[in-house]
Symmetry: C2
Subunit: 561 residues, 2 copies
């Protein structure tokens, strides 16, 4: 990612008594949230999540924060504090623990259970520190107080970090639902108490800072979902996040009420709901759940499927149903319920899924045509409450794209935080809290680290640029065989092309040009290999550009025999 | 595009006295609108537009309707009727006229002027038939009555096509603005008159059929834009469609009022506004316009730029500004106004543009945070008026993706059109109007025809599939040189890879495996070329899959010397 602070160099040494904050993810993007706090040579990490790739990162599975900044200092890490169990907050933990297995992982009961289930797949047994809201725990010099926040997953926490440099309140992700289904409110009273004590820096969730007003209560969603399930003619297929336990609970309650069985589809959905049920966060009536392989035996009107894929992920069950590439064949009378928000960047993919499902005759209910989802993030009107309650000396908007960070900064200014005490930083920007004042002092690398197949970091931005060119224009490869004994061409050049739209007729036109150009550049018939590559690239490049106005990747291959 | 009516075969011969309707574009998609009407062996075409590619068609410039269905019958075409001057209705005309230059082009004055300006670039002089609302024109057996409709471009028309088979009313694109800025209303009275006479088939714009209620009047936009321009600190950059004359008029009026100069940026914007100004559709005060190259000489607060790129098109000026890849460098204090709707499929691209602009400090005003655009298409509440006024015997929703067509069909059913008189067709589906009843009778090919660079139709779905694989996984190419004299390998195999994330270390691992596999499969050392390709593909494919869990394109290249 290019840098809006291009003038920033490496940070100076951290002054004594100061706190340093470096976000390695989550600033200028929605995802891979990770903030590194440093005091007196020790480090505390808040969250360690993944970012899901968009169309600019073709073929990539996941994007991690770049651990380079902390790689030489793994032993200085006191703990990783996880605010809640969403992938964009915990997903990169396995990759961090590969570098040092015994970093203590602190979090609430559910959060720890979810990360533990995930780590089992990576064959890692974490060192856990379970925390509860209201408690204070010390991790080296970091005295952490945990506060309850309401979010779209149970058991989410904010954390107030006390060091001699001051109090930093990091909200994590939160919303302000005043009638939450589990009764667990965001601890605004706790925020006020900290405000009275003096919050030196507030780091607050910016995801919905552009959305005016207030987020509807989760409680209003239940009746809408119930009505959809009650009136559905045949199968109901609900797509949601694999971690949205409250929403799955609502769907299960409705299904039970209307005499339908529920099947969970998708590995992460099955795993997470297993964890939630075991810990008592999800209550499932007896005989409600059936195996997804058995649903074909039930009448369509007795079935509710709960699956992932609400973001249009191409390999998820829902996309495959939309493309008729799944054993569940969508038919007239089926109802599909997208009970989720739309993560920015996924609109196009989700639109395709809705169209695919509509084509086969499904009724598609989504947040555009029914109140079947509320956001998990506080909107502008609610963010003002937090700003007014905590009255921070300094403010740093976190968790959001640039548009969200700027909108949140504006809200802070409206509540009276002086503009020069508001720090808009992006990933890698180093912020020091010195003598009660937060300032940008430098920057460290915080680029994307790509997970592709089994490899981490092998795929570079360079390879992705190649993929983009190949994906838009294809390639033309020209093979030249040179006889090492004579230095001459051992055979006529050969040409191969894929994805370029250039066919055999074109090849017949250009090959003689290539051969002629090679001969013209050969002294006494001896072909210079480096020059041959240049000649081939130039000759073919010009020809493609003139004849087709295209720019495929041109790859000269020289073989010596 | 796959087919939801897979059972449909070629249509039977058209019965005498019947009308046949085949949409070659615009059904199941937003764009490349084109409907072919056939009566008594003669053809009438309504609209002939392009579709803009999305991310599933990498590298493609434009998508045309497939003219195959009419290619052998070009001489039967009486005329192409253009309902209005938007690209998705006129953009494919140059490509159709390449096949037969003298097809008469009928349309309103502005529409003809816009297509003529476009055809000049293609060096084609069209045969024009100018029409005016209220007039009736015969094109062979097709008696066409034109009716005014209001849309986001002036001079738009609906067309009622009378043949002995009945009356078909095709609305074109329209909205129902009851206080339009140019006073030109959609002719609902005309629709009612036709309804009284008996509309046998209504084909009506479905774009906004999912949007409940009514579209705000264009009149309410002006004051909002005026306020944005009045209060802007520095430059104002307005992005709009290159054909949105009303919107450009509003921006110019505001600029003039607040003492700012206006520069038009982008070839299509300059061309279309030139046409509109010449014909009197755009009124420009003297000395208002400056050349975009001269704006750097003016104080930022005296400038309004009007450019294209409101859909996030990567090569348009606005995207390049967001990426700092444009001579206009966005800075703190600049205001960017996205005065346009969001065409489905472009959400992700537009989000990226907004973030890029925000990062550099611009205030971005868009339909998400201010009322700066209204849709050009009637919403559900307004579509009901048209259905109730025309009371059609048969209904066929047009211009929309599946979700829109289905929503519009549901509206028709609510107004009393019998379900079995509602025809949901997609591109290529053949609908016959026989004895007052519209029925699906078959299907013809209506796939995508890709324009890429200078070529039309060279890029196939096959090449695009190659591009997608190359774009997601890159490729690995292995060159084998065989000595024709001996049938043996003339040199060790060579390997090249791009975009695959596999490096030299990997190559060293697999090359000996390839050589070994080739030797093992060679009888007496003689390598069979076909088999060599298979062996290479299998050996390398397995190795990549096992070592990296990836699936790059694997290309064996065999050269004989």
């Amino acid at each position: 990612m290019s840098h809006p602070h291009p003038e920033l160099g490496p940070p100076p040494a951290l002054p004594e008594g100061a706190l340093r904050i470096v976000a390695l993810g989550g600033l200028g993007e929605i995802g891979r949230n990770m903030a590194v706090f440093e005091y007196d040579g020790r480090l505390l990490i808040v969250d360690c999540g993944v970012l899901f790739p968009d169309l600019e990162q073709p073929g990539v599975d996941l994007i991690l924060p770049d651990f380079e900044y902390i790689r030489d200092r793994l032993d200085d890490i006191e703990a990783v504090v996880l605010t809640h169990g969403h992938e964009d907050h915990i997903g990169a933990v396995p990759y961090l623990l590969r570098e040092r297995r015994d970093i203590p992982i602190a979090g609430s009961r559910l959060t720890l259970a979810l990360i533990e289930a995930k780590l089992t797949e990576h064959r890692i047994q974490p060192v856990k520190r379970e925390v509860v809201e209201g408690e204070r725990h010390s991790f080296g010099p970091f005295d952490c107080e945990f506060l309850a926040v309401n979010h779209s997953i149970p058991d989410a926490l904010a954390v107030a970090i006390r060091t001699p440099a001051g109090i930093v309140l990091h909200t994590g992700d939160f919303r302000m639902d005043q009638l939450p289904s589990d009764g667990r409110l965001t601890d605004l009273g706790g925020f006020a108490r900290l405000g009275a004590e003096g919050v030196d820096l507030l780091m607050s969730d910016s995801t919905n800072a552009e959305v005016p007003g207030f987020v509807t209560s989760e409680r209003e969603i239940g009746p809408v979902i119930d009505e959809v399930i009650r009136t559905a003619e045949n199968r109901v297929i609900v797509a949601s996040f694999a971690s949205h336990i409250h929403r799955v609970q609502q769907v299960m309650d409705s299904a039970a009420k209307h005499g339908r069985k529920v099947a969970l589809v998708g590995r992460s959905m099955v795993r997470n709901m297993g964890v939630a049920r075991e810990l008592g966060y999800l209550r499932v009536s007896p005989n409600l759940i059936v195996d997804s392989r058995d649903i074909e035996d039930l009448p369509p009107r007795d079935v509710v499927l709960i699956c992932t894929g609400s973001q249009g992920e191409p390999m998820a069950a829902l996309s495959r149903m939309a493309n008729r590439d799944h054993s569940i064949r969508i038919a007239e009378g089926d109802t599909v319920l997208l009970a989720s928000s739309l993560v920015p960047g996924n609109e196009t993919a989700v639109n395709k899924v809705i169209n695919g499902l509509s084509r086969w005759g499904a009724r598609v209910v989504h947040k555009g045509n029914a109140k079947v989802h509320v956001s998990g993030h506080a909107a502008a009107g609610e963010l003002l409450y937090v700003l007014n309650m905590t009255r921070p000396s300094n403010f740093m908007p976190v968790h959001g794209e640039w548009r969200h960070l700027r909108a949140h900064a504006k809200l802070a200014a409206l509540t009276g935080v002086p503009e020069d005490h508001i720090v808009i930083a992006e990933d890698g920007v180093v912020v020091d809290l010195v003598d009660g004042r937060a300032r940008i002092v430098g920057a460290v690398p915080a680029g994307y680290v790509y997970v592709d197949g089994t490899s981490v970091g092998d795929i570079t931005d360079f390879a992705l640029k190649d993929r983009r060119i190949l994906g838009e224009e294809g390639f033309v490869s020209i093979v030249i065989v040179i006889d090492t004994a004579t230095g001459k061409l051992a055979a006529p050049p050969e040409i191969h092309a894929r994805g370029s739209g250039i066919d055999a007729t074109g090849f017949e036109e250009v090959l003689p040009q290539v051969e002629r150009a090679l001969q013209e550049n050969a002294a006494d018939g001896v072909v210079d290999i480096q020059q041959a590559r240049r000649v081939v690239r130039r000759t073919v490049g010009r020809w493609v550009s003139d004849s087709y106005r295209r720019r495929p990747m041109i790859i000269p291959v020289v073989v010596e025999v």
